[in-house]
Symmetry: C2
Subunit: 478 residues, 2 copies
């Protein structure tokens, strides 16, 4: 009964995907709305997922030689304006601080939408010689972009992220860094979030404001929409020149360094929800789930059950992020509560199990039941969690493959875009007019030019029919 009721509270995906998403965010207590329009509270359950993401990513950054720093949250207007393309891209969507206390500021400050200008301002102070290079920096902060339409995790006026900023002696080193961090992002998504991604280059139109090249990883959500999940930018020496950053090279010549930046955000939590979730709620990848396994005693009023459940919990806690629920709610209520919250494994333990020195593991992703001897508990849980990760990734990959189409001409593109949600692979002449036309007619934007494609393309542009230069993934996007 309780279970039925609880599940009914979440709108079904098929009925209304957007409402399903909102229901999951609210009912599984990831977020709360606030009095600040477009900003959310990330509640403990949501923030614990972010902490796990942070911990793993931060470890990967440090292993690749990066150090954390912290820049101010404000950018003076004159500093934001130093790089022309950059200010044009960001000025329309920043929040402006005009007063400190009761006094009007001499110069307006924007709340950082991204921190390239602040890093450049700092580099100028600390970089003088080739000995000072490279600097491989990252920061974990929040940024603000004054969006008109907002959705929890996917698009909010303030969001949490990490922004890597590096500066190198040569263009080659900087380009290598850009691709290296793209690969770190892809590995993180696939290995820890169990989300398959397409690695590619953005078109000129979709490039980050001020970048020479923007790399992206694109994931496909349950509803067939694409989600840009991380970007890595190569800046060349444009920012360095605009900010007057120069260094003495080994031959005592003045040289200009080359820069990169790369970022991933709390949007990843949205990606996890929309890649893995189902009509019962969240399904969390074991690597980032706040609790990997929940112990639920059955017939807990019977003698010895709670004691044994606690004993099992204490054992599991040493090796896993384990929880136990001995509240007075019914087992059925508890089952659906932790299903909704996406806990990868449930452990049921009742009087009969105790008699047989066993327990029951129930997988959230497949609902498979596994009877396990208590003597082999830890080893089995470890293995099952690994299996869950693998099969979550495979399931998502299969779905993506099934939802990836190919189009040869504009009619076909429009037909697929209108009727089959997903990625559309199609050739392109690299003319922005065609890109604009595809948006106008088929409602799709270029997601990326995948990295694994041939150098010379043999075929015609899906839009104009002229010789094509690149294979592109197109789609509707969040």
């Amino acid at each position: 009964m309780a279970k039925e009721k609880l599940i009914k509270e979440i709108t079904s995906m098929e009925d209304d995907f957007a409402q399903w998403y909102t229901d999951v965010c609210i009912k599984s207590q990831l977020i709360d709305y606030t009095s600040v329009k477009g900003c959310m509270v990330i509640r403990p359950y949501g923030y614990a997922i972010w902490e796990n993401i942070q911990r793993i990513l931060d470890g990967m950054f440090k292993e690749t030689g990066h150090e954390n720093v912290c820049m101010p949250m404000f950018i003076p207007e004159s500093l934001l304006q130093k790089e022309k393309d950059h200010v044009e891209g960001f000025a329309p969507e920043v929040a402006w601080v005009t007063h400190g206390g009761s006094e009007k500021l001499e110069e307006r400050l924007c709340v950082r939408p991204t921190s390239e200008t602040l890093f450049c301002d700092h580099y100028k102070n600390i970089i003088h010689s080739w000995r000072d290079l490279p600097k491989l920096y990252n920061q974990w902060v929040s940024v603000v972009r004054w969006e008109k339409t907002t959705r929890p995790f996917l698009r909010s006026r303030e969001f949490l992220w990490q922004e890597g900023h590096t500066i190198h002696a040569t263009a080659e080193e900087a380009k290598e860094e850009t691709v290296k961090m793209l690969n770190v992002y892809a590995e993180f998504c696939e290995k820890y979030l169990c989300i398959p991604v397409v690695k590619g280059l953005k078109t000129d139109k979709e490039r980050f404001a001020g970048a020479v090249e923007t790399y992206t990883i694109e994931a496909l959500m349950h509803d067939g929409k694409a989600l840009q999940s991380g970007t890595s930018h190569y800046f060349g020496d444009g920012f360095a020149k605009a900010f007057g950053i120069a260094y003495q090279d080994k031959e005592n010549q003045l040289a200009t360094p080359h820069q990169t930046s790369w970022g991933m955000t709390t949007r990843l939590i949205g990606a996890v929800i929309m890649t893995h979730g189902d009509d019962s709620g969240l399904i969390l990848p074991p690597a980032v789930a706040p609790k990997q396994i929940m112990v639920i005693p059955i017939a807990q009023h019977k003698e010895g059950v709670i004691d044994k459940a606690n004993e099992v919990y204490e054992r599991l806690k040493k090796q896993f992020r384990a929880g136990i629920d001995i509240s007075d709610q019914s087992p059925g209520w508890k089952f659906s509560e932790y299903e909704m919250k996406g806990v990868p494994l449930r452990l049921e333990l009742g009087p009969k199990d105790i008699e047989n020195n066993q327990c029951v593991l129930v997988r959230r992703d497949t609902r498979e039941k596994i009877f396990v001897s208590l003597d082999e508990l830890e080893a089995t849980v470890e293995k099952v969690l690994e299996d869950i990760s693998k099969s979550m990734f495979e399931k998502a990959l299969e779905r993506r493959e099934a939802m990836t189409y190919e189009a040869q001409d504009l009619d076909e593109m429009k037909e697929i875009a209108d009727n089959k949600p997903g990625f559309i692979k199609a050739l392109w002449c690299m003319d922005q007019e065609c890109e604009d036309k595809l948006k106008e007619i088929a409602g799709v934007s270029s997601r990326c030019m995948p990295l694994d494609q041939q150098d010379s393309i043999d075929g015609k542009c899906v839009c104009c029919g002229k010789p094509a230069k690149k294979l592109v993934y197109w789609g509707k996007a969040y």
Copy 2:
């Protein structure tokens, strides 16, 4: 030679304490100034100290049952105004956002100076029954206060901190939490930062805006000035009433919950610098030092030296935050570099040491040299790091005791305040007029009423001579 030069770059404490402090912050690369007035860059070496502080404190918070969350950085003006005392305290020093992109906002938003109002706004949504209590929350964020005069770490317009916010069914529970977190703060400072603190209650005048009681830990810096290092506030039900937060208790009656908040900031890094540092630079407590031990090969051009140094480094790395410097700088340069950076232990290893299967440990705090067999390396390093922590704490405690004075009357108070930097213990009648007069005449403010004092005081107020009610620590403060 190199060493001499490097040390000369730092102004001596005795000559100019403020300049010494700034020199240490800049030369040991903790911070950089920015184009944003009153805001700093926390550089990798400074941020690594903060990460260690965060990791330890966050563990202590979680062990005491707290969960991390994240509130928006903006507060609508109407929300800030809901609690009268609170808005009066903070409105004069907040930064106001008035525009989003090119549009003027309907309502101004302030950048959070502290987040009580945001937490209350959220509590109102999620607290309905006694089952929803308590909520034990914390967040790691930055806040903004529009200060006129700023100093790195000690007073900046933006600073990093944690703010704990809890809400409880009863006043007793909330009071217990307030004191519990004060004790966590004191333990953290004494055990991990090696800084002795006085635990006490703030006077009404020095209380946090909107609080019923403010507890504080006060530390004494090298120059005899006090530094408020952490505060814990009991709010009673004032905020809950102002925000309309209520819950059904177990008897189905509507009741008002009680709240607390508590915070520590990057100011702690300033406390570490000014408690332990000397004329050669930083002296970092082992628990928060980015590197606990630096391996420095001697005569590294000789065969086998770098290999052996690397071998020792690889061993140490498994157990400690170890570093190695095999750059082409001279050993003398390296010695003073890592002395300036306050690395607790230096390990020297030359050809003769290798022959004797030994190395030399040099303590940063006492400069004591310790010859150690390589067979006993890890155990010795562990013990010496513990000894360093202990003796850093003891040294700081001895200095504080030596710089703590007692005053019986106003003349004596003024005489001490003018000539002997430090804490002044003196009795007080609890009349704010006397507190104001002591500020005016002797230039001291009340730091706290220490918790360990008798309930009934036998003596006279240091200012007016009337019967005293409390023993108070007075002093000049940052």
